[in-house]
Structure formats: C-alpha cells, structure tokens
Amino acid sequence: MEKTLDLKYTFTEKKDTRSGFGDGLLEAGRRNPNVVGLCADLTGSLKMNAFEKEFPERFFQVGIAEANMIGLAAGMTIGGKIPFTGTFANFSTGRVYDQIRQSVAYSEKNVKICASHAGLTLGEDGATHQILEDVGMMKMLPNMTVIVPCDYNQTKAATLALVNHVGPAYLRFGRPSWPIFTPADQKFEIGKAIKMIEGTDVTIFATGHLVWEAIVAEAMLREEGISAEVINIHTIKPLDEEAILTSISKTGCAVSAEEHQINGGLGDSIAQVLARKQPSPLELIGVNDSFGESGTPTQLLEKYGLNAENIVKAAKRAIARK
C-alpha cells in the first residue's frame, strides 16, 4: 500500500534510533571532554561501544544495577561531568523512579537519562520490556526535560543538543530499524516542534516512531481529499504550546499519535493545552490502558491501533466532531 502512496517524505535507508544515540554520543564525546557514559550491561544494545572504545576512561560499566547507575551519574555531575546513562527504557525509568526523583530531578543534576527499546516496537521480548508509561513518569517530574526523537538523524541531533542543555533530561528512543526521513544536518532545538507537512483540515501531532506513520497517514488522507498538517513534537516537555495552538487555530481539530499509554503521554499533554486555551476535538492514538505482548513491530502497531490506518480513521473522527 505504501508503495503507491505519494509520500511527502521518502527514505533511502532504515536505521534504528538507538544507533542515532550511539553515534551522537561518540560525537558529543569528541566535542566535549566532560561528557561521560554509563551503561548497565547493555553497551551493544545501546550502541555505546564506539564511545567506550574511543574514551575508555570516560566510560563506566555499571553492571546490572540501574539504581546505582542513576546515583553515580548524579554524583559525577559534581565536578562538572555531563553523564549520559544508558539502558532499556523500562530500567531507565520505572525501576529507578525514586533515584531519578531525589538524586537527579529534585537535586537539579545535569544527568541525561538515555533510554532505548521503548514502546511496542521493541517487539518479540514482550510486555515485560515494552514500557509504555515512561514518558508519563518522566514528564511529571519537576525540572525534567523529555525528548522523543523520530528517526536516526533526529536522535543523533537530540543527543548532541543535550550536551549544551543544562539540567536533567530524559531521551527516549527505540530498537527497530526505521525510515530515516529527517535531514542529517537538521537544527535541533529542544522544546521547538517541527512542522513536517502543511495542511488545513486536521493536525496530526506525532512523536517518536509514529511521526513516520503520520507521514504515511497524511498521504492516505490526501488521496481522499483531506488536507492534514503533520507536526513532529519531539519534545514532550517543555511542550511547544505555541506550535500546537497556531496549528489548531487553522485546522480546528487534531489527532495525537504516540507509542505510549494514552494516559500520561503526549496526547494527554496536548489535551490539557487545548482544554485550557482553545477547546477543540482531539482524538488520541496510543495504547489504551493495556500491556503489550510479543510480536513484530508492524504486527503490534496494527493490533494496538497505532499505525497509519488508525491515524487516518482518527483524523476522520476528529473532523466529524468539528
């Protein structure tokens, strides 16, 4: 189906977003001698090997001990280091929530919590590893910045941007190979949404892997004569309220799309903005109060209602409610 679509963005290569992190971290290490890396026995999975090889004295293997890793990282900031911690999203957040809350967020430490294998697209490992609540937990913490980039290039750009951002941050990315459709030389501004496609009938606010699904959905909607605007919200917190309100003023309705629980995710944040500033129809695409399961990423996005076809249906529902 995708082959026949007239997509506004195309790709020649697929790559995992975690490789964008790994390559970004290596570049960050070269640019700034204060960047240090910590990993809890997942160096290969997080693509931190290149950093470890080039900067062995600035890489710290923590073993399977995530709580300790967060504390270490907080301590390392005292004296000017910029620690990037790496493990799966599940072990980066839920397992260590109290450590992040006290030693990082409340203490305002310059720690970058970098989390891979987030969401359903982790795939076959199943629900124990497919965390769908991490964005909610992290965005509730005062002082915490939350970033969910959409492809390899954007993840690399986000990683580099975090070096110059002072304060606690959560960077969420994933496992599967995914289209690379944003430019390699993109400017990444934390907190600044990116308008991917102009449209007039409905806005699709998407984050992470689902930005690609939103781009596919836009082409499908266009075939039916519906003009959709696609906005890439890579920073969930602080949220770019201005971009949201500007777009909704034009289109009058919206769909949010994310690989996360609806409760606590991007859609929930957008709903708050709309309720306070400009009440408008909003349909929320995300996992609806359930755990995931084993399967391929494509199968899971379909079963849990997160793919382009579901975004199209949601867009029509939103338009009908105007």
């Binding site: 240090v36 004295e57 600035r58 710290f60 923590v62 073993g63 001990a65 709580a67 300790n68 890793m69 967060i70 504390g71 270490l72 990282a73 907080a74 301590g75 390392m76 900031t77 005292i78 004296g79 000017g80 280091k81 620690p83 109290d98 450590q99 809350r101 006290q102 030693s103 409340y106 203490s107 305002e108 430490k109």
Partner: protein, 283 residues
C-alpha cells in the same frame, strides 16, 4: 579552617547538640536520636579532618566533599555547617518551617550552602559519593569524598549495588562510614532485619574496613579518621564502622530508638540542655 584540639572539638560538640535539640524542639518535629549520636563524627570531619571551603562552590574542586545519605540527621548537618560559617547560625531557627532553606531533609533545591544533593529516601548516597569520587579522579583532584550512611539503611539493595561497584572500579579516594548504633525506627536492627556481620560483608565486597569502637569519644573519632585516610589511595574503598549510641549526651535519650523521630517537650528540652554546656552561644 585551622585544626582544633580535642578539647575544642568537645566544646563544639556540646554546642552542636544544644543546637540540634533546640531546632527539633522549636518545630516539634525532626530526628534527635541519630543527630546526637553522630555529633562527634560530624564535628571531627568539618572542624578537623576535611579540607573544605565555607564559601560554597557546588563543584567543590580541590576540596574534600561530604555526602549524607541518611538525610534525617539533617539538624546535625545544618548546625555543623552553620557553626563552620556556611551560613548564619540564626537561620537554624527556620529549620523545617515554611520558606526555609533548612528543609526537613537536606536539599539543594532551596540553595542552602554546603549541600550538594538531596537525601532522605534511603540507600542513594553511597552511589552519589562514588560518582563524585570518580569525577575527582577524572579531574586529577586528589581530595577525598566522605559519605555517611545509617545502619538500618544497609537493608536497601542499592547500597550493595554501590558497594560492589566501588571495589570493582577501585574507588580508593572514598571514605564511607556507617552509623552503627543498632537502632532503626521499628526497633533494634537485630530484631527488625539483622545486619549480622557488616565487617565481613564489606570485606567480601572488596572494601578495606576499620572500626571506630568509641564513636562518641572525640579522640577515638579523630584517630579513626586519620587511620581511614591512611588507607586511601591503595586500590580499595574504605569503610568505617562507627559504633555510636543514639541520643548520646542526654541521659534519657541515650541508647534507644524511641528518640529516632520524636521531639522533646519544654520540660524535656530544659532537662537535656541542663546536661550540655553552652560553649559558643546559642543561636
């Protein structure tokens, strides 16, 4: 700050104990027991052992650093910091009150000089101290990092994650101490969750372990700290098992967990202060 004689340190201890009791009494909340038990160690650290600057800088480069993991001992830390000149002693009167920098448990959030990380939720301080010690190594800073933990706190799993890490990574610029008073909120540690042989445990984790058997005797504390320092730089993290008595210095508070988190009433305060000489002037 010039090193103080044992007699001078004892005098400071008496005043610090008065401060702690008056702070907790004034707001009728806080944790006097462990604060009184750890007074000699804190006074020894800040007035004798550590090289530190009361013109506070968060990064603390070129200084010895101290982290408090069992944050409920906050009254003691605040008193010692104020008596060292990090902030005015009058501010001790704001302890645990609204809009104070002296939060119930220590925090950086309000900008109180001398505090480098929040603590209160137990088990996190050892990890933080190890991280800070590794940054000192990366920065070619030869000063030391100190951390205090509670004995009940040893029941937290994160402590052992950190213990394993510190020896593996040869963090030998670290002196940790455990307030070995044998008490926790629900009663004696031996009844709540027995720690058994802490020395053997830390030795098995690859640490150098020393005892300060008389943790409320100023001379023993100073001597033990010097010994601990002599063991740094040899490839192993150093642990002090600091034997203290909860509530030390006040006869009706000593040796019981009952004063862990209870404030004295007016009469009890008067009785307690009668046992402690005012040496530096009450705030």
């Amino acid at each position: 700050m010039e090193k103080q004689s044992i007699d001078q340190l004892k005098q400071i201890c008496s005043q610090v104990r008065r401060d702690c009791l008056r702070m907790v009494h004034a707001v009728q909340s806080g944790h006097p027991g462990a604060a009184l038990g750890l007074t000699e160690y804190f006074v020894g650290l800040y007035f004798n052992e550590m090289k530190h600057d009361n013109k506070f800088n968060m990064d603390g480069k070129g200084e010895d650093l101290f982290f408090l993991s069992n944050g409920h001992v906050s009254a003691l830390w605040y008193s010692v910091l104020a008596r060292c000149g990090y902030f005015n002693t009058e501010e001790l009167g704001t302890f645990r009150k609204l809009n104070s920098r002296l939060q119930g448990h220590p925090a950086t959030h309000e900008g109180l000089p001398g505090i480098r990380i929040a603590s209160g939720s137990l088990g996190q301080g050892l990890s933080v101290a190890i991280g800070a010690a590794q940054t000192k190594k990366l920065n070619n800073d030869d000063k030391l990092v100190y951390v205090m933990m509670g004995d009940g706190e040893q029941q937290e799993g994160q402590v052992w994650e950190a213990a394993m890490y510190a020896s593996h990574h040869k963090v030998d610029n670290l002196i940790a101490a455990i307030d070995y008073n044998g008490q926790q909120i629900d009663g004696p540690t031996s009844k709540v969750m027995d720690l058994l042989n802490l020395r053997s445990k830390y030795e098995a984790f690859g640490w150098e372990v020393i005892d300060i058997k008389e943790g409320n005797d100023m001379a023993s504390v100073v001597e033990g700290m010097a010994k601990a320092k002599s063991l740094t730089g040899k490839g192993k993290p150093v642990m002090i098992l600091l034997y203290t008595e909860m509530g030390y210095g006040v006869d009706f508070m000593v040796g019981t967990h009952k004063w862990h988190g209870v404030a004295p009433n007016d009469e009890q305060l008067a009785n307690a202060l009668g046992q402690l000489e005012e040496t530096l002037g009450d705030y």
